[in-house]
Amino acid sequence: MASSTPGSGIAEPAAAPLASPVPARPARARRWRTLRHAAGARLAPFGAAVLVIAGLAALLAPAVAPHDPLKQDLNHALAQPERAHLLGTDNVGRDVLSRVIWGTRVSLVAGLGSVCIAVLAGGLLGLLAGYAGGRVDGLVMRLMDAVLSFPPLVLALALGAVLGAGLTGVVIALGVVYTPTFARLMRGQVLSITAREYVDAARALGVPGWRIAWSHVLPNATAPIVVQASLSVAFAILAEASLSFLGLGVQPPSPSWGSMINAGRGYLQQAPWIVFGPGAALFVTVVGLNFVGDAIRDALDPRLRV
């Protein structure tokens, strides 16, 4: 899997493969088979379970968090994990578990939000480039190359600096960082699909260009985009955590896994649980997303199985 990226979490987009020439119909049966296949992968159930738990935690944070994530209690600062505080408390006595649960919101919003922006913007740009061709194509793709000329985290840092710290800034910055990946993918898809006979047929029938794009090209181009998007969410979550860890993302006291880890690193000796709670949450979420992403990839395009 060449598109995997370690550490900083910002994916260096490897050119993803072109769409598999899946037979075009019947669509519903095909979708069903794909889903069944994805669910049958060995590690997918674990990944899906993680995602369901994370999603529920994010949605129901006010109900399931045992304590107020912002409430300080200096009498119980750096308390070890015990019944009242399952993951202990941090340096100002806030409940780590509650903050981890609320942090799920930030992570999921950052991951999903930025990938949505990237899929929309990149998809449209790629569609435009592939469909218009010529100068428009050249301009759009050079623009994407320019974005790719920055190391992803550095670009996100610089954009974040300009857009201001906070979740919105992070989501937009990461959205921009991931856009070229989807633009390239979509363009490749469009180029290969518009060369197919059914597009020629539609043209010969006098179907207008936008309609060909909408009802013939788009539906057939989605498979690799879905695969890339599902893997990108994991990287985006890592990237948000990295930025917040550096103090340039979500600002304290808002609970974000990255900023919690940064705040706790000064207490590694006395209270390692401040770091390990959010650290474990981050790691497990990303692993789960990777399992699901791999399962989706295998189901949609068996040739890519490593």
């Binding site: 899997m1 060449a2 995997s4 990226t5 370690p6 550490g7 900083s8 979490g9 910002i10 994916a11 260096e12 490897a14 050079r142 623009l143 190359d145 320019a146 974005v147 000329s149 920055f150 190391p151 992803p152 985290l153 550095v154 670009l155 840092l157 610089a158 954009l159 974040g160 600096a161 300009v162 857009l163 201001g164 994991a234 890592l238 955590a241 990295s242 860890f245 550096l246 103090g247 340039l248 990255g258 880890i261 940064n262 690193r265 590694l268 000796q269 390692p272 770091v275 650290g279 981050l282 790691f283 990303v286 692993v287 990777n290 490593v306």
Partner: protein, 314 residues
């Protein structure tokens, strides 16, 4: 080969132009007035006015870009607002630790990944393979800063074997210097090793299923010779590609690693500049990093052609 170099160089020019435009735009994308954002409220208005004139922010945009580009072409990247020194000097002072860190991390990742990747593929589905793929998964899903904190927790805080922050130049004091760089280099190297392991394993598997491997085995070559001489050579090409693709990640990882271990490198400089809202410094360093990144990608491209003659002649 010469023509390939020229063609690649020519292709980077429009991209470089767009990159400079993007970096130039950074300062102007700031919501509100960049000078107000850079300076504290308390700073005197005359100081702000002077800075605005210094940076040329009172002139039309296209003129500003033209002047900025003109200076750029003469190697003048502007000056830091904080210490009033040219950007180049700021970066020059910080480049050595960064390069040492990157070099060591690269070496560590290859040392770890090569044997694991090869063994994983050669003994597919064995215990070694399962451990190898698990290791790769961990490395890919684990953010840099968590690896760093784990290493600090184990080797710095608990065992007290290695220093957890600070930098000593290994060129001046080899032993202390290497010790100061060990944990950062492992942090950065492990993440990279994970990706290389995965790539090497899958490209080895592919190479091992080729017909020429069967032929090599059929003529009685030993397992080791088949793997080393026939499979590995062909499996290395995707690894080089991935190394190139991972350069950006390596730089990003270096930013975080330098931050955690308080290494005075270029990555740390970017973070500090962003914090200080020192926009000219951010602009200059980001541009330098981007250019460095483009040039190293170019180098990887050419290296690729050097390894695989089929690409050179395309």
């Amino acid at each position: 080969m010469g023509r390939l170099v020229l063609r690649r160089l020519a292709a980077t020019i429009p991209v470089l132009l767009l990159v400079t435009a993007g970096v130039f735009a950074l300062i102007h994308l700031t919501p509100g007035d960049p000078i107000d954002a850079m300076m504290a409220e308390s700073v005197d208005d005359s100081v702000k006015r002077e800075l605005r004139r210094d940076l040329g922010l009172d002139r039309p945009l296209y003129l500003q870009y033209a002047t900025w580009m003109g200076r750029l072409l003469q190697g003048d990247l502007g000056r830091s607002i904080r210490n009033r020194e040219p950007v180049i000097e700021n970066v020059g002072r910080r480049i050595r630790p960064s390069l040492q860190l990157a070099g060591l991390a690269m070496a560590i990742s290859l040392l770890v990944a090569t044997p694991i990747g090869i063994l994983s593929a050669a003994r597919r589905n064995s215990t070694i393979d399962r451990c190898g793929t698990t290791f790769a998964l961990f490395g890919i899903c684990m953010p840099n800063f968590l690896i760093a904190l784990l290493l600090i927790f184990v080797f710095g805080v608990t065992l007290r074997w290695l220093p957890i922050s600070g930098y000593v130049d290994p060129l001046e004091e080899p032993w202390a210097g290497l010790r100061s760089l060990t944990l950062p280099a492992i942090t950065l190297g492990l993440a990279l090793a994970a990706v290389i392991t995965r790539t090497l394993r899958s490209s080895m598997l592919e190479a091992l299923s080729e017909d020429y491997i069967r032929t090599a085995r059929a003529k009685g070559l030993s397992d080791g010779a088949v793997v080393r001489r026939h499979a590995l050579k062909n499996a290395l090409i995707p690894v080089v590609t991935v190394l190139g693709l991972q350069l950006g990640t390596l730089i990003g990882g270096a930013v975080i690693t330098e931050y955690v271990f308080a290494l005075p490198g270029v990555g740390r400089l970017v973070v500090d500049a962003v914090f200080a809202r020192d926009y000219p410094l951010v602009q200059g360093v980001v541009l330098l990093i981007a250019v460095g990144f483009i040039l190293s990608n170019l180098a990887v491209d050419l290296l690729y052609g050097l390894i695989d003659p089929r690409i050179r002649h395309r």
